[in-house]
């Protein structure tokens, strides 16, 4: 029996604000989001958001290590309405950012808040010497204790065509 199954895949064909996956099964111990994404914001940077089970209230917080070119910093946010990650914006042609997010599903018959690990990053450098590069470790928190049944991925002004997200489910047997 498969222990690692691709549950959902969404490939953006035109600018789309929200990728919403519903009906997610609780038979998986871990959910993994794989993405190569780019924001429709006409800027060099865009922000991507993650929300769970349609919860748009201030039930999220997160801490990250963030590099920007040759500098790096540690930050934390909370309580806030979503988990946030940087993406390249629309000014950057075919550039995309890599997204890997890991979300625990509830253990059987138990209910816990969720600790959400993410790695995101992208590189943009031009021959003329313009650089804007990010690499981020982020650990997020969502206070909801129910099984995860819905994942929403959003971006200011949407994601551009070519953006692709896949949801993987992991289980022990």
């Amino acid at each position: 029996m498969a222990v690692c199954e691709a549950l959902k895949t969404t490939t953006i064909e035109e600018d789309t604000v929200t990728v919403s996956w519903t009906g997610i099964s609780n038979t998986y111990q871990w959910l993994e989001i794989i993405g190569y994404a780019k924001g429709a914001t006409v800027n060099t940077i865009a922000t991507m958001y993650l929300q769970l089970n349609g919860d748009t209230a201030s039930n999220y917080s997160y801490k990250n290590i963030e590099t920007f070119n040759a500098s790096w910093s540690i930050g934390q946010w909370g309580l806030t309405t979503k988990l946030s990650y940087y993406m390249p914006g629309k000014l950057w042609g075919q550039q995309s950012g890599a997204v890997h997010i890991y979300i625990p599903q509830n253990p059987a018959s138990q209910s816990h808040a969720k600790s959400i690990h993410a790695r995101t990053g992208y590189v943009r450098a031009s021959g003329s010497g313009t650089y804007e590069n990010y690499a981020m470790f982020t650990n997020g928190y969502w206070s909801g204790t129910g099984d995860i049944t819905q994942i929403d991925l959003k971006c200011d002004n949407g994601f551009v065509a070519g953006t692709q997200f896949t949801l993987i489910g992991w289980k022990d047997s």
Partner: protein, 203 residues
């Protein structure tokens, strides 16, 4: 492009989302480890990579870099289309050991990180996970590397690294190469395993 072996009459028969594609272990020292999923008819491996959302490489490497105090050795990577071997990579990285981050301008190889070398304790190899994508959409190609080094418990050379590369090309990724910058390359036992992640739906 022809369907992969696990697609039969248009039906996906592969049971896992992670499909093992290739594995390479050095039986003797070498300057690089290559994986060609499609070498366009030269008689070697030919696999259809177009259906994957990304390629994942899990590996362990050790280099032979001469001289005392050479705990780690710089390592590079190439990825992209096996025809033409692209040469325009950009990169950014963060290192836990010295708490630094930086970026590099365009270069002919992509920056991977450091792997254990001859001054590292015996039998230590550097573990890593690299992910390459999007494999076939029209966006530029990105690689992510998580590289872990514990080469000597007293050493300041132990690292936890996160780095990203981009290749300004939108063609299919069907080749990955890890290159050692050490004079004697990687040692025997260095290994990489390549998996393709399928985008299919089971629900």
């Amino acid at each position: 492009m022809a369907d992969a072996d696990y697609i039969v009459d248009g039906v996906l028969t592969e049971g896992e989302a992670w499909v093992p594609l290739a594995s390479s272990t050095l039986s003797s020292g070498a300057n690089q480890i290559d994986v060609y999923l499609n070498d366009y008819g030269s008689g070697n491996t030919k696999l259809n990579a177009s259906q994957y959302v990304e390629l994942v490489v899990i590996g362990s490497l050790r280099a032979l870099h001469g001289g005392a105090g050479e705990y780690t050795s710089p390592t590079l990577v190439k990825f992209g289309q096996s025809v033409g071997l692209a040469s325009g990579y950009y990169q950014t990285y963060w290192y836990g050991v010295s708490q630094n981050s930086d970026f590099k301008s365009e270069s002919s190889d992509a920056y991977f990180g450091y792997v254990a070398s001859n001054s590292a304790d015996a039998n230590i190899f550097t573990g890593f996970i690299s992910r390459f994508g999007p494999v076939s959409t029209g966006l530029f190609k990105t690689a992510e590397h998580l590289v872990f080094n514990d080469v000597n418990y007293q050493s300041t050379e132990n690292t936890l690294g996160l780095s990203y590369n981009v290749l300004h090309e939108d063609g299919l990724i069907d080749m990955i190469r890890f290159k050692s910058n050490a004079p004697s390359g990687f040692i025997a036992g260095s290994r990489i395993d390549v998996y393709g992640v399928l985008p299919r739906m089971v629900q």
